[in-house]
């Protein structure tokens, strides 16, 4: 009896990827829901068509393909879908910001479905307007700049790219800070309070178009290249001066 059960489960696991063959390589499979279908049901159909090959039936996860989605909540689902991180071509790749191929309605339905799998946190509603810019820069430097750089243009950790935050919306930033997508650690309320998070988001929005009083921003890549450019200009000026002096002495 027990062996039969194991066989059944194994067959079931094998059957699922086969049933949902054609994983979306360069697009997603759209599902047209009949009018009156609840968002959760529509989401379940979309999940079956696009996500189940890695996240498994009912979002339980599959070994070596994708994590369980039970309890991750609307917050993580919304982040990964609205940034285009998911669906991923190959589970071994680092998710990257890409064009969202689901419609708004489909995205909301998927988020509702994932939330229905096991509760979990809701989508945060940050209020960057209530944050302080100076405080935000201080907090960003302390918690985020190690990877994303102080200008929020992105950087590296070993084995991964820390993305630029140029296109991250306030809600996405809040979701990422609390969820910790891919290799990023998540930050709890003890480390970064909601009020502090507002300040950080305000700073990130500011960092996209900072006030360049000094003039030439050099891509905001920091003081080292700025210094190098100054050296370069200085050396050219010195060489030019030497050349002029040399010419005058000759004549």
């Amino acid at each position: 009896m027990r062996r039969a059960l194991v066989m059944c489960v194994a067959l079931g696991l094998l059957a699922v990827p086969a049933a949902a063959a054609d994983p979306p390589q360069s697009g997603v499979t759209h599902v047209h829901a009949a009018p009156g279908t609840s968002p959760v049901d529509w989401g379940a159909q979309l999940f079956g068509a696009n996500c189940v090959t890695c996240h498994g039936p009912n979002g339980r996860g599959l070994d070596s393909r994708g994590p369980s989605l039970r309890g991750v909540g609307a917050r993580a689902a919304d982040f990964y879908l609205r940034t285009g991180y998911m669906p991923l071509d190959d589970p071994g790749n680092e998710p990257q910001r890409s064009r969202v191929l689901f419609s708004k309605g489909e995205l909301a339905a998927l988020v509702e479905y994932v939330a229905s799998l096991g509760g979990g946190p809701r989508i945060p509603r940050p209020q960057p307007g209530q944050g302080g810019l100076a405080k935000g820069q201080e907090l960003f430097t302390e918690h985020c700049a190690g990877c994303h750089q102080v200008d929020a243009k992105g950087g590296y950790v070993t084995n991964a790219v820390a993305p630029s935050l140029d296109h991250a919306s306030p809600v996405e930033i809040a979701e990422a800070v609390r969820t910790g997508p891919y290799l990023m650690p998540r930050f709890t309320g003890r480390q970064i309070s909601d009020a502090q998070l507002n300040s950080i988001i305000r700073y990130v929005s500011y960092a996209r178009h900072p006030d360049d009083r000094g003039g030439w921003a050099l891509g905001h890549i920091g003081p080292v290249p700025e210094g190098l450019v100054t050296w370069f200009i200085g050396i050219v000026l010195l060489i030019a001066t030497c050349a002029v002096i040399g010419k005058r002495i000759e004549s």
Partner: protein, 326 residues
């Protein structure tokens, strides 16, 4: 000091050039001595010496405000005085004679001529020895000033202070605000900075990174059994390569396909494996990150269970010779 000056004068006097057999024809026209210019040069060399001596004095004297600025000022003034003295010597004291041809250094006769030229150029000095002594004094003082910052490289012979850390069995872990860490508060997937309670936080051995893994994921050496109660691990926050603060925690969302959890130093990307006791996965660090054994007291608070597994901070000669001490 007077004896030292007398010795220098004596030595310089002995080194006087040998008298020539016959005085050859002069190449450089004689110039009138210029005592005023000589006084200026002596004054400048004296000022340079005083400024250069001020550098080690300011360096040692920790109490003065803006110490660094004064150091720079003293060194800069010393260099400026020496260069000013050189300018005065060149402009007003050395008789200049332009050569029509290139310096000949191959033919012995020409070599002699050049030597004579150099000798005669210095004819205008009336107090040559005094000037040389002043110049040498300024140069020596400047050399001493330049070497002074080497003292900041750290202890050369006495290394034992580098092994000292504020941790010992029973010290509680507190956060930046001074709140005590409870073991239950430490969550997976994130990292915390902790300090020893009632201790100076600027010490190299003070700051910690605290993370939590699932106990089943740990691969600690057998000798460190029990160092990570409930999967809570504490490491020194100071990178063993160049001493930067380790500010990055790389944690996989889905372990089977993603890189393993690691602490990464943002300066040169030294990457330390948190699961197996801080071994180096990547980067220029030459030693594992020192781990601090932890214990959870009956009140559920996190405390140190001893001292680090190795010396904290950037390596030095013989760093592995001793363990850290409290």
């Amino acid at each position: 000091m007077r004896w030292l000056v007398a010795l220098v004068v004596l030595v310089l006097g002995r080194m006087r050039r040998r008298p020539r057999l016959e005085e050859p024809e002069r190449l450089v026209p004689t110039g009138a001595p210029d005592r005023r210019a000589e006084n200026i040069v002596l004054l400048l060399f004296g000022a340079a010496t005083v400024c250069a001596i001020a550098v080690p004095v300011v360096y040692v004297w920790d109490a003065i405000p803006n110490q660094t600025q004064f150091l720079g000022l003293a060194l800069g003034l010393a260099l400026a005085c020496i260069s000013a003295a050189c300018i005065v010597i060149a402009k007003r004291l050395v008789v200049t004679e332009e050569l029509e041809e290139e310096y000949g250094l191959t033919h012995p006769d020409e070599e002699e001529a050049v030597e004579q030229l150099v000798d005669e150029s210095g004819d205008r000095f009336t107090r040559k020895r005094l000037l040389v002594v002043a110049g040498a004094g300024a140069g020596t003082a400047l050399g001493a000033a330049m070497l002074t910052p080497a003292a900041s490289l750290g202890p050369v012979f006495e290394m034992s202070s580098l092994y000292k850390t504020p941790w010992r069995r029973g010290v509680r872990l507190v956060d930046e605000a001074g709140r005590v860490f409870l073991a239950d508060e430490i969550e997976e997937g994130t990292f915390y900075t902790a300090y020893p309670e009632h201790a100076q936080r600027e010490q190299m051995g003070a700051p910690l990174v605290v993370v939590r893994l699932k106990p089943a994921e740990l691969r600690l050496p057998d000798a460190r059994y029990g160092w990570a109660p409930g999967g809570i691990l504490a490491y020194s926050k100071i990178c063993t390569h160049a001493g930067c603060a380790i500010a990055l925690y790389r944690k996989p969302t889905f372990a089977p396909v993603e890189p393993k959890p690691a602490l990464v130093c943002p300066c040169h990307y030294s990457t330390f494996d948190v699961a197996d006791g801080g071994s180096v996965l990547f980067g220029p660090a030459g030693r594992p990150l020192p781990q601090l054994p932890l214990l959870v007291d009956p009140a559920g608070q996190l405390r140190a269970a001893g001292n680090f597994s190795g010396a904290v901070g950037p390596s030095w000669w013989g760093v592995r010779r001793h363990g850290p001490r409290s």
